[in-house]
Symmetry: C2
Subunit: 324 residues, 2 copies
Amino acid sequence: MVDAALVEALRSGDRRALAKAITLVESSLPEHRQRAQLLIDALLPHAGKSLRVGITGVPGVGKSSFIEALGLELIASGHRVAVLAVDPSSSLSGGSLLGDKTRMEELSRRAEAFIRPSPTGGTLGGVSGRTREAILVCEAAGYDLVIVETVGVGQSETAVANMTDLFVLLQLPNAGDELQAMKKGIVELADIVVVNKSDLDARATERTCSQFAAALSLLRPPAHGRSTPVLAASATRGEGLAEFWLAVEALRAAMVASGEFAARRRRQALAWMWELIASGLDLRFRAQPQVRARLPQLAAAVEAGSIDAAAAARQLLDLAGVRD
Amino acid sequence: MVDAALVEALRSGDRRALAKAITLVESSLPEHRQRAQLLIDALLPHAGKSLRVGITGVPGVGKSSFIEALGLELIASGHRVAVLAVDPSSSLSGGSLLGDKTRMEELSRRAEAFIRPSPTGGTLGGVSGRTREAILVCEAAGYDLVIVETVGVGQSETAVANMTDLFVLLQLPNAGDELQAMKKGIVELADIVVVNKSDLDARATERTCSQFAAALSLLRPPAHGRSTPVLAASATRGEGLAEFWLAVEALRAAMVASGEFAARRRRQALAWMWELIASGLDLRFRAQPQVRARLPQLAAAVEAGSIDAAAAARQLLDLAGVRD
């Protein structure tokens, strides 16, 4: 049974209804999952109309300040901005790499903004699934920009890049050491690179920007007929934010014109369906008693090289009753 | 029943036995698959002792000339060299991006070398599986260097990087346009970059080398305490081959000393087991009549955004009798 009153309130812009809907979507209780799915089904026709922007960067790069400054400018020009923060560390340590979300104090007090940490569950369905659903809920509530913030740890970047239209990498002016802390392949995901905190060192910022631009043009083919934008910004001084937003809008327009925008969303939706199917099959496979009994021994033998990986896979599939 | 005579002949260095064993391993006939697995099981204790080197680069970069020149130098210093060429295009078009393997004419006539195109089947078990097994067969036959050659198309690079100890990217001196033809993420996989055909343009070679070195040091953390080597070479003039081999041996020694060499092989073996399991589960899932009947419609609805990906996944898993 869909909660029609909740849908109605949420659609009319009631922030408490929005918060309640996201809480429902976040819940892992089976009875809540079912209600959440009915809610998503009801909201789906109203979702999909926002621009979804992923933002990542190492701790200390100034993601929150950047998002807050950008968000304040955008709501001043009529946008409604939702910020979902995916923090892969919070479920492990109780602490949080993304820090206290109340840092975006000014933005969080504004009626046109909605800021919410997104829970992480450790599983695929958990981490990505809940955030994906929270995006849909925010869209149905009328937010036209949904920012998903994450930090360069674990698999969260790939997950966020796979649920957003544009993926933005924030960097510090002194690129060397900070970059070392990043996982291989994150630069690869970026549609736009921003060198933030340009106020710290104008010359280092300029140097880092041109190094990045050169490296990206060498290592990556230009997308949508243009090379990856590399921009300087200072969130604290409010510099570079307008230029960043122009770059976002230009990229979006180019992607919409080429059909890549719609194609990327279709690919993401289909890939997500298949990921969930694979995850479901894997969970069920590992839960089978014969597989559970035999797996540790076979995995150890494969690692030790005393049994061929293919032979071990076949044995386990046979135990699970799967034959090809 | 293991073919003991085949194992014996292969182990004693009989090249015809080696060719026959690889043909068996390549066969997709069910009765051959079973014999192949018994053969692999028998050979496994003698396998694993080679250095496995993956080599990739766009068509025209000179992979075959490079491998032939390198192979001739190495057999002169006592090595035994096997070359397996993975060509993702050959099964599609009948043509071949890697070209005619008889190009390595001189090397192929040498008793200490073994050159063989590796068949591609289009499926995961096909492409990667047969080449992985062919590596084991070559190792059991006493080859201490197994080179797996591929071309920058499709998924073959990732597959080859995941079955080798070191992955080498060949580049042309004029980097710009050639790089555009490469898939995103291939540079990311490289342990060593070689700018081949340095004889074409010495200055462009030097410039390309330093551009690559700068880009790699900026975008990638150094592995094993050192940054990714970028070297110039001219296979036709025999220049840079000794330096390349020194870099390979230095990297191997560093990886062995740090434990990364053994760890990478363990990871590869275990990951391969799980890939085969996932592939087996996926195949079986897609083959179920209820899933086959409903899948096209649901996939289209997910792409069109008229059903949530999670809801579609759940419906399909329910149809297949998989519940979580």
